[in-house]
Assembly symmetry: C2
Homo-oligomer: 417 residues x 2
């Protein structure tokens, strides 16, 4: 497929990808829906104003919204038709090439990206067996790292939607209760164990109804797409607070997502087998078909004014529990999902040290500092460190990437009195 737009060969945003996002420019301060292509954004309001969707049957108002929710709520079948048309618009024989080049494209470097969706509920899973085992060893019992339920259901908890921000937003080092050195008395302190967590988040397109359960096979039609997700964590706050009801302030101070929502249709070519699950799962979690996705991931740490160091390379395909099972489990009790809900995967870790998706695991809870390119080391994050996560699928010279999610840790917030 050849576009008249110059797309660099290694671009995350090839003609096969076409992820959706929300942007503004210096001249256009009202948020608009666009699709990333190479180093540009195709403006969907422009396309609608040109009547490029004239023969397709859906409510065109969705292109004038300031988030993707109404577009996503059209459902997967319609979203696929819209995406196919957008691909046609960008190919050589569509026509209007000059008009599109002159009026329909914005350089990504001249745009500011915004949260693409109005987030409803945010759920965080815990679906990597390597991550759950590593954390279980450190937080609980080295000999029984996985709790008895772990292999029977995709463990999850609800997270905080209000503090999820778009890539590029920075945040202050959080404060809270942590245990003092006597290991008994809490003190009030800035976190001394600030961490990242490498995750991919599923974005729900179609809503389900309360009382309904979504089956494994139906699950794929409820998905609009995926983003990279950094579930920043304060390990010392988390460790003190998390029993018995789970993580709270150790997580909810800030989370970051990448700006471009890669659709499930763009990722179809990258489906792979899931890991074998043993013991066998209950019927409602039983798989047929290819349910995992082969997505390469990396995490880099960049100290202020220094070059970055890649500290983790992992792959989404190794997840023990996949997105289909997560949705089936989430709704098996009748809990409803809504357009704009976000289901994060949990930290994605592989089986070797350089594939762990958090500093907690990479540094063995601070015992083994990791080396950066500038000859510094890190156990946990320091002030002014930037964390950059990237993700991409690649096969038969087709590349579908997420771009990146990044954020910088500012020092503690100084209260003005």
């Amino acid at each position: 497929m050849q576009s008249y737009i110059n797309i660099p060969p290694n671009s995350d945003f090839s003609i096969h990808n076409l992820p959706f996002g929300i942007y503004t420019t210096e001249n256009e301060l009202v948020k608009r829906i666009g699709v990333a292509v190479g180093e540009h954004i195709l403006d969907l309001q422009f396309c609608q104003n040109m009547d490029f969707f004239y023969d397709l049957d859906f409510d065109k108002k969705v292109f004038y919204a300031q988030n993707l929710n109404s577009l996503m709520a059209l459902g997967r079948a319609t979203n696929r038709i819209i995406r196919n048309r957008i691909q046609e618009i960008l190919l050589e024989d569509f026509g209007f090439e000059g008009l599109i080049q002159d009026y329909g494209l914005v350089k990504q470097s001249e745009a500011t990206m915004h949260l693409p969706i109005q987030i409803g509920d945010y759920t965080d899973f815990y679906s990597s067996i390597e991550h759950a085992t590593n954390v279980g060893k450190m937080f609980r019992d080295p000999d029984n790292a996985l709790l008895p339920n772990w292999r029977h259901l995709p463990v999850a908890y609800h997270g905080r939607a209000s503090s999820i921000h778009i890539s590029g937003t920075n945040f202050h080092r959080p404060k809270g209760q942590i245990l003092s050195e006597d290991n008994k008395t809490p003190i009030f302190s800035a976190t001394k164990a600030l961490d990242f967590e490498l995750e991919i988040a599923t974005i729900i397109g179609s809503s389900s109804k309360i009382g309904e359960s979504i089956s494994i096979s139906e699950s794929q039609d409820y998905i609009f797409g995926f983003v990279l997700f950094n579930d920043w964590s304060a390990r010392d706050i988390q460790r003190w607070e998390y029993q018995p009801l789970g993580p709270f302030l150790g997580k909810n101070f800030f989370s970051s997502i990448s700006p471009w929502v890669v659709t499930i249709d763009a990722l179809e070519p990258f489906r792979v087998e899931s890991p074998i699950q043993n013991p066998p799962v209950l019927d409602y979690l039983k798989l047929e078909g290819l349910r995992n996705f082969d997505i390469h991931l990396s995490v880099a740490i960049q100290p202020e004014n220094e070059e970055e160091t890649i500290v983790c390379r992992a792959n989404f395909k190794e997840m023990y529990w996949n997105v289909a099972q997560q949705i089936a489990h989430h709704t098996v009790n009748g809990c409803n999902l809504n357009t704009g809900d976000l289901l994060a995967s949990g930290t994605i870790s592989g089986s070797e040290s350089g594939t762990y998706g958090s500093l907690l695991e990479l540094s063995e809870n601070g015992k083994k500092p990791i080396q950066l390119a500038n000859n510094q080391t890190r156990t946990f994050l320091e002030d002014n460190d930037t964390v950059i996560m990237r993700g991409w699928a690649e096969k038969d010279e087709v590349r579908v990437g997420f771009g990146e999610v990044k954020g910088k840790v500012l020092g503690i917030r100084i209260e003005l009195v």
Copy 2:
């Protein structure tokens, strides 16, 4: 204070209360904002159309919204001025009495109530020391029922906002994984341990910013009001799933709130001292002033076509952690609160058996059936049981009540194939 409206002497909705809600009628299908007074609803669109707020400086569009969020976002000071004016409108010397009686009032019996707010994030605390102790004994260790962190911070977790419904909505008995009798292997089953939890939920009026912490003294100005909250729970699902990340499917299938939001200003006369906290708390949780509220609570079970039995009488004033501390803790790490967020108290239990706010505690986890008026007994809820919670404050012949929150347990949902 004498109103020209006939308010029954024992009404929850006295002239001192004036809670806000969202309603429709047979003739008026678009949701409207109203205030409960006696057996009536005062329509605030009517009041605005009559220009009763002409001299007050705020955006009058809030009265045409279909939820309370924009009204709540005006902030506590403005909400107090609006509430004071509404009280004046209802008093004898305001004038317009005939017009108001004829065009401004709707009988509650002729109205359908709706969710009063668009819920942002929902947080559930665990703030009753009696409840935490009772549950800790049954779920964990009778000798160490309270975990080490419990007296140092108000333990909380994030819950599911999408499945919170208005009083009167019924739901199907949830299904999920529970442990089989061998206590090792999970099976798929409808819950056999369906429970209620008696709670009060705080509704946030003003938003805070990410990175900001709200102090104990500032906390009161972020509150719009309170509702009754039934945190329906499936104990067998919860027990199997909840470690290590907290409750999930055991809770998120359904929750119920009462329709009338009682403002914090209406509850000011009912402030009381908080229980003494020992060991002393960290500075950011230190109290001054009266932070607990004296609110009587009851829970009744009503089997289908039978009379109800009150199974619990409790009081909100006994909560170990209060709302001011909950807000200070929730934001101490920089987590932001938004208009429409809901902070539930956790189950409200007193120190004696008849004051426990859940069947888990009342029946000692099924070991001690409780007696109903119709000579049946209950350990957990049966199909077609209705649970009714009520709450009211009363002092010096002034009564400020919540009305009730109720819901019925339907049998398991039959899937249509």
